[in-house]
Structures are given as structure tokens and as C-alpha cells.
């Protein structure tokens, strides 16, 4: 019997009534929790949810007895096996600077949507095992995104395209090159008419130079570029405001007030890692300064940025436009009738706050808002004196800025007119990602000579004559700019595993020269012609070593705002929304589907909804109540005659009449992980409504789809215990000790045991997590995954509460169902000094060491699970089945060789990255010194874009962690149990506008 998901038969009206009855600071995590459904109560009180501990895979009693007897008989024999013979295969010629057993770091760059982020990739024995941010790169500053962390799994993905295919038959690079040359010779006669190129956003200088040269050689050839998560609206907004494409850059560090109009600048923006760091620095009170910025967000579905807001409005996409129009009107631009009254006073307070903080505020709009909203942001920033202070403009980072939708439309109409003889597609999977009305899958086969460079055998590969496997970025030489214009370099850590090629290598074939050049020669020779450095060799080596060209960010550019044009655009177009609105957004985990085959990303709970392995039709509880829908109900969505089916998910904080669909799912041709997971929202997405549309029809089909969210797993719910603590900046200023006074913690002396029994004279490791700056972005979770060889368990196992993540992000709601406040709380092992888990282990597999670490000794563990039963924090994870993949050959080089790959029947948990502590301890011991402060970073700490996690030694008096532990906001979760956790938290502070706050109370 498979466990069924909670039936969610509760009455939403009852939930509302219960919420209204709550007093004071009351947090909740899910609707089940408020409704106190029996399923939820059971989940709360059991160590693992129902079905997690049972073996229910349909084995009969008889065969169970047989197996039990056999395993008993054979149990003793397992000790008789000899260790298998191992072999040592030394190098024939050892590479220089390689020390086997020691990691090597290489600076390279990962691109998403074309924009580069600098990374440091760690290599062991010649294979990359971990990717982290490059602290010296301005687009990373050392922080990581989930995609960076998960990219290592993509490299070793066994489902990557491994061979070059011609019409589905295996072919060779030489055959391809000769056929490609034949095609090009045909085009030489007609100057390239009928020769088309489709690329993603072009931000690589080498690639742009190659394309320029191609256009010179084939003047009739056409270039198109398309990215399904395009920034077209940003470009058009700038064109509306300034008459030309310019890039808008922000400096969040200097802000006092930020207004985000549907912008997820902390997570999806190309410069999100930098913005997140700057934003957090302006909010961190632990650094000693008593000021915080204030974030206002208006958005349709809760995003990372929305959850960090001090004031958040849940508005539909079109309502956000109305809001920005009425805000502009308050500052004297345009007129507007019928402003939405519900946000009138909110808007007035916001306008006054912006006015008060002239030159210190930012108004930013999301990629999905129409161009007019972007133009209004430019106007508002100008009006508020922000331009030149917190906002500035630069030349576009893109090298061929173009309206991508128009560009793709041109290609499609050319294809329909049979005017495309040859089409070269460089990545992007347009068959899956192009707007539905373009019907790319039908028109692509009309092109006889189609060539696709792609990483996997996807929908586009299936329809192209040639498919060339694309090299992963860790296998390639390349260059790209980051969003601020910094030129970044890619260098390979490993030869292409499956003979993959890079875009420059394919384009280089167009200029036949002997011998054929590889990507290294192409990129290098391009930079050699640039005359950037007086001594080329020195400059080139320096830049490749650093991963970037220092100080190559784009210069600030003075722009003339065309207020009249904006005013005209405001008048000529009125915004309206009818019926139910639908918005399309990139998935927070698998983006536009390019990461669909990545198990880590599929399994990591999405930032707010905590859904895994699925996308859903995200609706507000209010809409669910109206339409009588419950989570898991399969509905049919209809938009202008196009239909798609998907399961319902209720999201508190969702705009009332807006349905949000995440892209990237429903892949028909992906690897074994991504194929057929979720539904394809692209089927509703048309070119006239890429991001939002009105008049969505929802009809219930009466079927159910089990959606798996980890929100109810590992719940610590307990109202009187104040697991999550917060206050406002004003509370803190009035009484800095308010957190400590809010609940009584036991004194250390309150123990029957001798307190001197355990002393920590050497190092005393501890962690501090700042809830004020935690974004809930999951970067720590995936970094932990990569560092500690944590397995993927699959949807069925997650449904049973068996997910293996060592650090989880608990998300709490507070307040109403329609617009709650959000709080994120990362929970790793607390490394309690009085650890309840240690007392109950019958085999001493979990015990303390002399630095205060709570250890888990895998080779001793017999799997009684007593420890996890006794853990009040629910942070221990049990290998119920053989989760670790020992068999797939391509995964073997991916595992971190410093960490044991755990087997079935063994408990595991966060170790504070003990392998990193050991490495640093050995290095320090060899030099007879103490480990210095910045030598050890845990994987989660290193990945955190906002530096919310701090790890260090408490016995070093001036260490950051020792200082944070004395901060007034520091508190221990469940400290009253006298577990004396080494991981403690800094309480969250919000900075609400007193005007809005008092109104809400009144």
C-alpha cells in the first residue's frame, strides 16, 4: 500500500476562522497545520510520516519469513568476505602542480541566460567535484546560486548526449565537418541567402566576433536569438524611456527604500548574487549599525524577494502595472482613473517614504512586467533623484541587443515560407521553449539542413538533421560578460567526457583553415587581436587565472529621459484585466527546463511552496474556496482555445485572481529524471502573452495527482516554544535585549552532571545563522548536497518523508491566508553539547569529540534510529534504502573523495563539514599553529549569497562567530531543553513603515 498524500478535505472557511482566532505572534507552515487535520497531527508526532518506516512493497508474509531466515543465516557470513583487490594506476606523465589527494581550484565562469557568473571549480585527481562562487568576481562575490551548485551533476549526467547524430544515426565530427562545408559552399553562391542562425542571448565577445565575420562572408545570412526567459520587456522599456537600449544597474548597498514591482532581484536577476549581498549588507544589524533598508514588494506569486519584504502586496500582474501607474501619478506623471482602492493608503505611505528618501531609493520592475512599467521605473528613479546614486545606466551588456521575440517570429515566418535552407541552432531547445503559437515543432522539419548543438537528446535534437553534443562549461574554453559588463573567462577542468563541442568550434568551421582549431585556440586568438594587454601572454594568463579581466565593468552612462514619450505611451494604452489572470514564471529550481534532468534541483524543495518533483497550477486559497478546488485536484486550464492539464496547489500569499504556472516541466524528451515530470505550461504560452494573460478558464476534472511538498515534514510546531523569533527594528532600538527576554533559557549551571566533565580546550566549533538575511534560496542545501555526497531519493521516497538533505529550510507563515508574512529558517544539525541523540545510541555510533562536534560514525551505526527519534530538531536522516548510486560509472568521479558514501541502514546528518575541519587542522598542525579564522568555511556558509551563515571557533575570542554569539539577537532554538546547541540563530528584524503598520493594527 502506497502512502496517500494528505486528503486536504478541510474547510477553508474553517481555516480562516481559526487563523483569525490566533493571538500574538503565531506562525504556521501549512493549511493542514491550521486545520489540524488528523494527517498533520500524525506527521507531527511521528518520527517519520506514516509509511516511512514500513516496508510495504508488496512482499507476502511467506516470502518475508524466507528472507528473514536467509538473512539471519547469512548475517554472520558477511564478515567472512575479504576486501576486494584494488589497483593503483599512477600517471604515465604526471601533470605539473598536481598533488594527488589535494584539491586544485580553477577560476571559470558559468552562464545562465548568457550572463556570466564567476566560479571557482574544485578538482580532485583531475575531476571536478564542486563549484563555488569566485569571491573576486563582481557577479558572485563568493556566493552561489542553486544552478551553480547543481551544475556539477549536469556534467556527470549519464543522460547527456554522448554521440554525434545524423538523422538519428551515430556519426563522426569529421563527417559533420565535411557535410557542413558542403552546405556552406552551396550558400557561398548566393551570399548566404537561406542560411539562418538561432542562438541564445549573445554575451560572449568571441562568439559575437565570429558572427560578425560570418555576416561579412554571407551578407544575406540571418541571425536570430531567443531565450525563453527573455529580457525583451526590459529592453523595450529602456527604449521607451531613453530611445535606445541601455542596461540598468543598481546599487542596493546605498538604499533606504526599495520598491520591487514584480521583480525577483534577489533570485532570478542575472546579477542576483551581488544584489542579494548588497541588500543583506544594508539590512544586517549584527554588524553593529542600527539601520536597515525597507523593502516594498508588489507581486503575483510569492518569490524569494517577496518573502523578504517588509510590506508585500499580492497583486496580479496587471494590477502591478496599475499600481505603478498610480504611483507615477502621485509624482506627477499621467492621469489614471479608478485606482484600486484596496492599496490606496499603502501607496500613499509608500509615496511619502520614497519622497523622504530621495536619492536613496530604488524602484525596480520584473522582467515579466510590460515595457511601460520599466519605463515608469526609469521615470520614477529619475524623479526621485536616484539616478547617479543608487541607479545608473550603461551600454547594453548583450553584444547584439535585439527584440528576441521579434527575432524568433521572423525566423518562424521564414521557415513557414520555405525560405530557410539551413538552420544552425546553438543551444536553447526552441522546440520545447518557443511560444506555443509559433508551433516550432511543426515548422522546424521543413528545414532540410538543420543542425543543433545541444547538451541532451531533447525535443529539438529529435527534429534536427544533425545533433552535435554540446560540451558542459566545465569542459569548455569560452568567454562571456557578467551583467555589470565584467569580462569573464571559462577554462575547462576536464576533457569533454563525450566529445562535446562548443559554439565557437562549430562557427569556426565556417572559415575553413587547416588545421581545425579547438575552442582554446579560437578564444585565445580572438583576445590576441583585441590588443588589450601590452604583453599579451602575461595579460592572458593573468585573466584566465583570475577568471576575469579586472575593472572591465561597463562605465556609467548619462541618459536623457524622454518623459513625453512615456506620458504618451501611458495615454495610448490602458491596462485592463478580465476574469482570472494567468502568469508564467521560470521555475525556481529547473528554470526554463534546461535543468529538468538534474535530480538535485528536482528534489530540492522549491523556495516557497516546498514542492518537489512537480510543477503545479498555483492558486490562492480564496480562489480555491470560490471554485471549490483542493490541492492535488487535476484541472484543465483553457486560454484562447489552448488547453493544458495540471494539479492545483494552494499558495498562501498568491494574488487572489491570479494563477501562476512555472515553466520547464512536462519535458517529453529529457533524460530519465526529467522526462514526463509535471506539465508543460509552454502549451498555453503564446507570443502575445509571454508572461501573463487574462480570461483563463479552470475546470475541475475530478482526478487527483499526488503533489509532494516537504513543508509538513520535520515540523517543530509548538506555539509556546518560539522556534522562530523576530521583532521590528524599532523594538530592537527600544530594547536590544527583547529576544533574550521573550523566553526563559536555562542557565548552564542547571544540570545534575559535572559541568567540567567535558571541556573544550582546543577548538570549539560553532555556527551562527542570521535569520535577518537568510533569503531561503536553497543554495546552502545544494552546496551541502555536492560536498557531502547526499543522494537523491525520488518523489515516492520524498512523499514518505525520507528526503536526505542535511540542511533544510523551514518556511513559516504568519498572519492571514491571503497575504501572510514569510520567514525562512535553515535548520542543520545543532551539534548540541548535551545531545539527546547520543544518550540513546546502543552502539555508540553517535558521540562527541573533543572539539564539541556531534559525530555520526557510519561504520558503527546499526540503524536502530533511536537517535533520530530522540532528536528534538528532527535533523537526522536515515538511509532506508540503497539511495547512493554506486553503479552508474559517470557518477563515480563526482563524489567528494573526502566523504564516505553512506550505505543502506545507516543514519546520517550534518557534520559541520568535518572533512574541511580535518584538512585545515592537518595543515595547521604541520605548521604548528592554530587554525586561523578564514581557513574553514562549511559548504553552506561558502555558498550563502548573503553571508547569513557564519562558522568558526568559539575559543578564538575575536572570531566572528564568537562575537555573534554575544549579540543581543542571538538565541538557541529549543534552548529551554538545555541541549546547549552550538548552532544558534540571530532573530529576524523587520522594518515596517509605521504608517502602514498602525493602519494594519487599527
Amino acid at each position: 500500500m502506497k502512502p496517500t498524500p494528505p486528503s486536504r478535505t478541510f474547510d477553508l472557511a474553517d481555516v480562516r476562522a481559526r487563523l483569525d482566532g490566533l493571538r500574538g505572534q503565531q506562525y504556521w507552515q501549512s493549511l493542514d497545520e491550521i486545520a489540524e487535520t488528523p494527517e498533520f497531527k500524525e506527521m507531527l508526532h511521528r518520527e517519520f510520516p506514516n509509511g516511512a518506516s514500513e516496508w510495504d512493497d508488496g512482499v507476502s508474509r511467506r516470502s518475508f519469513l524466507k528472507m528473514a531466515a536467509a538473512s539471519l543465516a547469512l548475517a554472520g557470513l558477511t564478515a567472512c568476505t575479504k576486501q576486494p583487490v584494488q589497483h593503483i594506476l599512477p600517471y604515465v606523465k604526471e601533470p605539473e602542480e598536481l598533488v594527488l589527494g589535494e584539491p586544485q581550484l580553477f577560476a571559470t565562469a558559468m552562464c545562465r541566460g548568457g550572463y556570466a557568473t564567476g566560479v571557482l571549480a574544485k578538482s580532485r585527481e583531475g575531476h571536478p567535484i564542486k563549484v563555488d562562487g569566485n569571491p573576486e568576481h563582481p557577479a558572485s562575490l563568493g556566493g552561489s546560486s542553486v544552478w551553480m551548485q547543481a551544475s556539477i551533476l549536469d556534467l556527470y549526467d549519464p543522460d547527456r548526449a554522448k554521440t554525434l547524430l545524423r538523422d538519428g544515426e551515430i556519426s563522426t565530427w569529421a563527417d559533420f565537418a565535411s557535410d557542413f562545408n558542403r552546405i556552406l559552399r552551396e550558400h557561398e553562391a548566393n551570399q548566404g541567402a537561406g542560411l539562418h542562425f538561432l542562438t541564445e542571448t549573445i554575451i560572449s565577445p568571441t562568439l559575437a566576433a565570429q558572427l560578425d565575420a560570418i555576416l561579412k562572408k554571407f551578407p544575406q545570412a540571418k541571425l536570430h536569438s531567443f531565450d525563453s526567459i527573455s529580457r525583451d520587456h526590459v529592453r523595450e522599456g529602456a527604449r521607451l524611456a531613453f530611445g535606445q537600449f541601455v542596461e540598468t544597474q543598481h546599487r542596493f548597498e546605498k538604499t533606504s527604500v526599495i520598491l520591487s514591482l514584480d521583480s525577483d532581484f534577489l533570485y532570478t536577476h542575472p546579477l542576483a548574487l551581488r544584489y542579494a549581498r548588497e541588500f543583506a549588507n544594508a539590512r544586517r544589524v549584527s554588524s553593529g549599525k542600527g539601520e536597515m533598508n525597507r523593502l516594498y514588494v508588489a507581486e503575483s506569486t510569492p518569490t524569494i524577494t517577496g518573502t523578504m519584504a517588509d510590506h508585500r502586496l499580492a497583486l496580479g500582474s496587471a494590477e502591478v502595472e496599475m499600481l505603478s501607474r498610480s504611483l507615477a501619478q502621485r509624482f506627477g506623471l499621467g492621469t489614471m482613473d479608478g485606482t484600486s482602492t484596496k492599496s490606496e493608503s499603502w501607496l500613499n505611505a509608500l509615496a511619502r517614504d520614497l519622497e523622504k528618501n530621495r536619492g536613496k531609493s530604488i524602484v525596480i520592475a520584473g522582467e515579466w512586467q510590460p515595457p511601460i512599467v520599466h519605463a515608469l521605473c526609469h521615470w520614477l528613479n529619475d524623479k526621485l533623484g536616484n539616478v547617479g546614486n543608487t541607479v545608473f545606466y550603461t551600454e547594453p551588456v548583450e553584444l547584439r541587443p535585439t527584440n528576441q521575440l521579434a527575432s524568433l517570429r521572423e525566423l518562424v515566418s521564414d521557415m513557414q515560407a520555405d525560405a530557410v535552407k539551413t538552420l544552425l541552432i546553438l543551444g536553447g531547445n526552441p522546440v520545447y521553449a518557443a511560444p506555443a503559437d509559433f508551433d516550432f515543432a511543426t515548422v522546424l522539419p521543413k528545414v532540410k539542413q538543420s543542425i543543433y548543438l545541444g547538451t541532451e537528446l531533447d525535443e529539438t535534437a529529435a527534429l534536427c538533421a544533425w545533433h552535435v553534443p554540446q560540451a558542459h562549461y566545465l569542459e569548455s574554453w569560452g568567454d562571456a560578460k557578467s551583467f555589470d559588463g565584467t569580462i569573464s573567462f571559462q577554462q575547462p577542468l576536464i576533457e569533454p567526457l563525450y566529445g562535446g563541442k562548443t559554439p565557437p568550434e562549430i562557427l569556426d568551421l565556417i572559415f575553413p583553415q587547416q588545421p581545425v582549431r579547438d575552442d582554446y585556440e579560437i578564444v585565445r586568438s580572438y583576445w590576441e587581436t583585441q590588443k588589450r594587454w601590452p604583453d599579451f601572454e602575461k595579460g592572458w594568463r593573468r585573466s584566465v587565472h583570475d577568471g576575469l579581466i579586472a575593472d572591465s565593468a561597463l562605465a556609467e552612462k548619462k541618459m536623457e529621459l524622454k518623459s513625453d514619450a512615456i506620458g504618451e505611451a501611458l495615454r495610448s494604452h490602458q491596462v485592463s484585466v478580465t476574469g482570472i489572470e494567468v502568469t508564467f514564471r521560470p521555475d525556481p529550481s529547473i528554470w526554463d527546463g534546461r535543468f529538468a534532468n538534474n535530480g538535485w534541483l528536482q528534489e530540492c524543495a522549491k523556495p516557497v511552496s516546498k514542492l518537489t518533483w512537480d510543477n503545479a497550477v498555483i492558486i490562492s486559497p480564496a480562489l480555491a474556496q470560490q471554485q471549490n478546488l483542493a490541492a492535488g485536484d487535476i484541472v484543465e486550464l483553457e486560454l484562447n482555445g489552448r488547453k493544458v492539464r495540471g494539479p492545483i496547489w494552494l499558495q498562501p500569499g498568491q494574488a487572489e485572481k491570479t494563477v501562476t504556472l512555472h515553466l520547464g516541466y512536462g519535458r517529453e524528451r529529457a533524460g530519465r529524471v526529467g522526462r514526463g515530470v509535471g506539465f508543460n505550461a509552454n502549451q498555453l504560452r503564446t507570443s502575445d502573452a509571454l508572461w501573463s494573460a487574462s480570461d483563463l478558464k479552470i475546470s475541475k476534472l475530478g482526478e487527483k495527482h499526488p503533489l509532494v511538498a516537504t513543508q509538513t515534514h520535520h515540523n517543530l510546531q509548538s506555539p509556546e516554544r518560539q522556534i522562530y523569533r523576530e521583532g521590528t527594528l524599532n523594538d530592537f532600538k527600544a530594547n536590544p535585549q527583547f529576544v533574550k527576554q521573550s523566553i526563559e533559557s536555562p542557565k548552564n549551571a542547571e544540570t545534575l552532571y559535572d559541568t567540567n566533565e567535558y571541556r573544550y580546550d582546543g577548538y570549539k566549533w560553532a555556527m551562527s545563522i542570521d535569520l535577518n538575511t537568510c533569503l531561503g534560496c536553497n543554495a546552502c542545501l545544494l552546496a551541502c548536497n555536492a560536498e557531502n555526497n547526499i543522494p537523491v531519493v525520488g518523489k515516492d521516497q520524498v512523499a514518505r518523508g525520507r528526503e536526505m538533505y542535511w540542511i533544510r529550510i523551514d518556511t513559516y507563515y504568519k498572519g492571514s491566508l491571503d497575504n501572510p508574512e514569510f520567514s525562512h529558517m535553515p535548520v542543520p544539525c545543532m551539534h548540541c553539547e548535551h545531545a539527546p541523540c547520543e544518550l540513546v545510541c546502543p552502539v555508540e555510533a553517535t558521540m562527541h569529540d573533543h572539539e564539541g562536534l556531534n559525530l555520526q560514525v557510519y561504520n558503527r551505526c546499526v540503524g536502530t534510529r533511536f537517535c533520530s527519534n530522540n532528536c528534538p530538531y528532527k535533523v537526522r536522516r536515515f538511509n532506508f534504502l540503497w539511495y547512493a548510486d554506486y553503479k552508474t560509472p559517470s557518477f563515480k568521479p563526482m563524489y567528494n573523495p573526502d566523504v564516505t558514501v553512506r550505505w543502506r541502514g545507516v543514519m546520517e546528518k550534518c557534520t559541520y563539514c568535518i572533512q574541511r575541519i580535518s584538512r585545515a587542522r592537518i595543515t595547521a598542525e604541520k605548521e604548528n599553529r592554530r587554525i586561523s579564522e578564514h581557513e574553514i568555511q562549511t559548504a553552506c556558509q561558502q555558498a550563502c549569497p548573503t553571508n547569513a551563515i557564519v562558522f568558526g571557533d568559539l575559543n578564538t575570542p575575536n572570531s566572528t562567530v564568537a562575537k555573534l554569539k554575544t549579540h543581543p539577537l542571538d538565541y538557541s532554538m529549543l534552548g529551554e531543553l538545555n541541549t546547549r546547541p552550538r548552532t544558534t540563530y540571530l532573530a529576524k528584524l523587520r522594518n515596517p513603515n509605521p504608517e502602514i503598520q498602525s493602519e494594519a493594527k487599527g
Binding site: K82, Q83, V85, Q86, H87, I88, L89, P90, Y91, V92, K93, E94, V99, L100, G101, E102, D761, G762, M847, D849, H850, E851, L853, L855, V857, Y858, N859, R860, D898, V899, T900, V901, T911, I914, Q915, S918, I922, E925, K926, N928
Partner: protein, 221 residues
Amino acid sequence: MAQIFRRSSNSIARATLVGTFVAFFGFWGVVYAVYRSPYTTDVNVPLAQPAPFSHKHHVAGLGLDCRYCHTTVEKSSFAGMPPTETCMTCHSQVWKDAPVLAPVRESMATAQPIRWQRVNQLPDFVFFNHSIHVQKGVGCSTCHGAVDQMPITRKVHSLYMRWCLDCHEAPQKFLRPRDQIFNTEWQAPEDQLARGQALMVEYHISTNRLQQLRDCSMCHR
């Protein structure tokens, strides 16, 4: 009525009692013997190697230092195995046509590594680091034995956890001066315990450190 048990039954009963006792301990004795025997531990079992490399010839005979081939023993967890190139520095000149060196020449010619059998191996959940042991005064021969006397390399200790702990609990019994680490002929002097205590001070192995050496986390993670 005749007696049920004859007199001989007494002897049988005694023999059974003794027999059970002997059988019980005998069984476990055999198990223990197998567990400690070279069959399980591979101690002193020479392994066939692709080329019959003799440490005796290279170390005792020619006087090569351990670190000539095991280059990373002071830097890394892994002591290092010489690349084919290292062998060929000499063997491209001496014994260049010897049939026993055919696998080495073949490796160089085909760029395929030589496939040595591993002699000393630890379970995957044990993380041993050569560099720190060498740094703290544990000599090569303490664990690897008189390698300079081995025509074919073999293991000399079981590498069982109990054996590791012998030293982790009382390092003074084994530590040697820094200049003797790579001396394969080093023998413990008679006053080793006193000298070892002094060396522990020199190597900064404090009481606290000594306790820590027995933490599970030293080797398992």
C-alpha cells in the same frame, strides 16, 4: 529395575561437558585465528605485480630515498606512486632491454598506466593522511616494515583499527626523531619511552591532543 544409565554414561556426560566447552572456545578460537591469519589480513602475502619491482634492490642496494618515488608523502594524504616517467628516468638508460621491464616500456609507449596491485589498503570509511604522520614523527617502517628488505612488497601489519589505536593511545612507543623518519633500518632505542615522551613535547602532542587522537572523527567522517 535395571539402571537406565550405565556407568559409562558418567564418562560420556563428562566428555560432553568438556567437549561442549572445548567446541565452543575451539570454534571461536578458529574464527579468531582465521580473522588474524594472513588469509584475512593479507599480512606477509606477496602480491603479483605487473613488473616485479624490488624495494630491496632500489632502497637497500641503490640507496634511493623513499621520497624519490613517493613524492607527496610529506604534502598529502596520499604518499604518491611514481609515474612511469620516473621509472624511465633511469630505465631508458640502464636495463633498457630487460624483459621484466617490458610492462614499464609498454606503458611509456602506449601512454597507458601500469596496473599495480594495492598492497596496503584501508576501508573506504577510513581517512588516513600520510603527511601528518610523517610530520609528527611516525617513520615509514613503523607501519610498512622493513621495505628495504622486500624483493616483492608485502603488507606487514593487519591495519586493523586495534593496531592503529596502539599508537594513537600511546604514541611515545613509536615516535622517532625527525631525521630518522625515512630511515628504514631504524630500531627503537632501549629508552624509547622516555625519548618518546620528549618527542611528544617537541611535536606538540599535548594531553588534549592525545585525547583527541582517539576521537572517531580523527579517521571516520
